[in-house]
């Protein structure tokens, strides 16, 4: 399920990214083409302007020529020359502007001929004026060819203007079409993107819901399992109690009637049932750990350690145990559970140093690298263990020593780890066979510490 979920989310994410990339490209391309179209519109307008200017210049040259023919004033001749020059420039400008348009090129070719005719006619008449005087020149004006060249020029210019205007209309329509297309595709892409985002969000939400349900189920199953363990252990106690009780009466009342072997067997029955009782009790307290609600208050570790050592007095009083207790911080946790952890570890240290002539147990604290935690260690010079089994130590009913060597059920360290982990800390161990062991656990520091709770860094 999680793999499928991940694939879905990743796919949704990629699709969303792709869609937004498409939206960005469409927007960019649309802006580009819009800009291009706009430049075309500007271009068309300049062509139109140039054409209007060109026609104006042509008409003006014709007027200058006429005035010259009437008056013979050289001044008009100069103006005519200037206008002719401008006319040529304007013609070249138009030629450049419409270089891309074959239709207009062809019209322009015709216009060129018309202008040439017009100019030739005018030049001819002005030459007549210069050579033969006014009447002959005026007379030549009456000839039709001069008129038609100007009309042709006019017609051709308006044809070209009409063509440019048509192009302008087409281009405007084109711009509008592409704008509409852009709008539609942007709306579509955005909707698609939205759709993907909604469906991805839905998938995520559904997954979260199903995870929540699964978590609830898991918690319920866990509680059920805890309850089952509890009631199983509980119900097993009753027959065991009877077994032990009756064996006890047998031992008390029929002791004399049994021979040595019988007494030995009875003793074994009693010991085994006692051991099973201990196992059941341990199982009960371990399963209870998962169900208990625990408090979080200030716990003075030094007090806890002192009390535990006091409690272990009966076991240590006949032995020489050297206690090395360093400064201990205040921590945050459930007082009775923390007491249990400390008791289990110190009791272990006492137990496993039993065979040492000079037992030494050191308890201290170190600043933890993880913020807010404090590491506490209990070090002994007892039987130790092989490091390769270090992790097994903390499993339920897992032991590294035979019961004949050191008694116990193997629940103590499992409880330590469980309690510590429920507090958000860790528990671990280091050791060497026959040299000793160091058990460490980390617990949250008491936060409202006013600095009196000193934590000393301890070197080994």
């Amino acid at each position: 399920m999680p793999v499928e979920f991940r694939t879905k989310v990743v796919t949704g994410g990629i699709l969303a990214v792709v869609i937004f990339a498409v939206i960005a490209s469409i927007s960019y391309l649309s802006m580009e083409s819009n800009d291009r179209e706009r430049r075309w519109v500007v271009h068309t307008h300049s062509v139109l302007e140039e054409l209007a200017g060109l026609l104006d210049s042509a008409v003006r040259t014709e007027s200058e020529q006429r005035r010259f023919l009437w008056t013979g004033d050289e001044h008009y001749l100069a103006a005519y020359g200037a206008d002719q020059k401008r006319l040529k420039e304007q013609f070249n400008d138009v030629r450049t502007l419409i270089a891309d348009n074959p239709v207009q090129q062809r019209s322009l070719d015709h216009l060129q001929i018309a202008l040439q005719e017009l100019t030739a006619g005018m030049d001819q008449r002005m030459a007549i004026r210069k050579e033969r005087g006014e009447p002959a020149a005026i007379d030549s004006l009456g000839q039709k060819q001069g008129w038609s060249a100007l009309d042709d020029t006019r017609n051709l210019v308006s044809t070209m203007q009409a063509e440019e205007l048509r192009l302008l209309r087409d281009r405007t329509a084109q711009v509008e079409r592409s704008l509409t297309e852009t709008k539609v595709s942007l709306i579509f892409a955005n909707l698609l993107g939205l759709l993907f985002m909604i469906s991805t969000a839905t998938i995520v939400r559904r997954e979260m819901n199903s995870r929540q349900i699964a978590e609830k189920k898991l918690v319920a199953a866990n509680q059920e399992l805890g309850a089952f363990t509890y009631s199983a252990a509980h119900d097993l106690r009753a027959p065991l109690r009877h077994l032990h009780g009756f064996a006890n009466f047998l031992q008390q009342s029929w002791h004399a009637k049994l021979d040595e072997d019988g007494r030995r067997l009875l003793d074994k029955i009693l010991k085994s049932s006692q051991q099973m009782g201990q196992l059941l009790d341990d199982l009960l307290s371990f399963s209870r750990l998962g169900q208990l609600e625990f408090r979080r208050t200030r716990v003075n570790l030094r007090d806890v350690v002192d009390r535990v050592i006091q409690e272990l007095q009966p076991e240590t009083q006949d032995r020489g145990v050297k206690w090395e207790i360093e400064d201990l911080p205040e921590i945050e946790g459930d007082p009775s559970l923390v007491h249990q952890v400390v008791l289990n570890l110190i009791a272990n240290a006492v137990k496993y140093t039993r065979k040492r002539e000079s037992a030494c147990i050191a308890i201290g604290a170190q600043q933890n690298s993880e913020v807010g935690l404090v590491t506490v260690f209990v070090r002994d010079n007892g039987a130790g263990f092989e490091m390769q089994y270090a992790n097994k130590l903390f499993n339920v009913f897992q032991r590294l020593h035979r019961a004949e060597e050191f008694e116990g059920t193997g629940i103590g360290l499992a409880i330590v780890r469980r309690v510590v982990e429920r507090h958000g800390g860790k528990a671990w161990a280091e050791g060497e066979l026959d040299k000793g062991a160091t058990f460490c656990f980390s617990l949250p520091k008491w936060r409202q510490s006013d600095g009196q709770a000193r934590v000393h860094s301890v070197g080994r």
Partner: protein, 154 residues
């Protein structure tokens, strides 16, 4: 040694009954042990009903109640005793297989005088029963009509 007049022992488990009886008689603490096999029988005895209609009037010096019993459980019997002005001074010790669960608090709330977990180790249990017996035997002459609120005993 002072002896309890008689005690009422309510337990549905035959083995537990035999063991408790043996433990009590071993220490010669009791003149008589009246057995009830479930809560209903215990109620009948206390209220002199049914099979116990003709029993002598005297109340038991101590009631040992198993919590888990068929028909009427130990908590119900306890509640009835502690609500009845004629019975409420009779000390009641609750017997249970477990020290866990809501039972402990509930027992004390209902006015139990002690709460004893039956240990697996029979000798421990025998010692517990002996201690309880001695304790209540010594208080045997206490004034009647008052609710005894002894906190210890287990």
């Amino acid at each position: 040694m002072d002896k309890l007049e008689y005690i009422l022992l309510a337990d549905d488990n035959e083995n537990d009954l035999e063991l408790t009886q043996r433990a009590l008689s071993q220490h010669k603490l009791v003149n008589e042990i009246v057995i009830a096999r479930d809560g209903a029988e215990a109620m009948d005895f206390l209220y002199r009903r049914g099979a116990f209609a003709s029993r002598p009037e005297a109340n038991p010096a101590l009631v040992l109640l198993d919590i888990k019993m068929p028909k009427v459980d130990g908590l119900e019997v306890l509640e009835a005793i502690k609500k009845d002005p004629r019975l409420q001074h009779v000390p009641v010790v609750m017997l249970t297989s477990s020290r866990l669960g809501p039972d402990v608090d509930e027992c004390y709330r209902l006015g139990a005088n002690a709460y004893v977990v039956k240990p697996v180790d029979f000798m421990q249990f025998a010692d517990a029963v002996k201690t309880i017996g001695k304790f209540w035997a010594m208080l045997n002459e206490a004034p009647t009509g008052n609710v005894r609120t002894a906190g210890a005993g287990s």
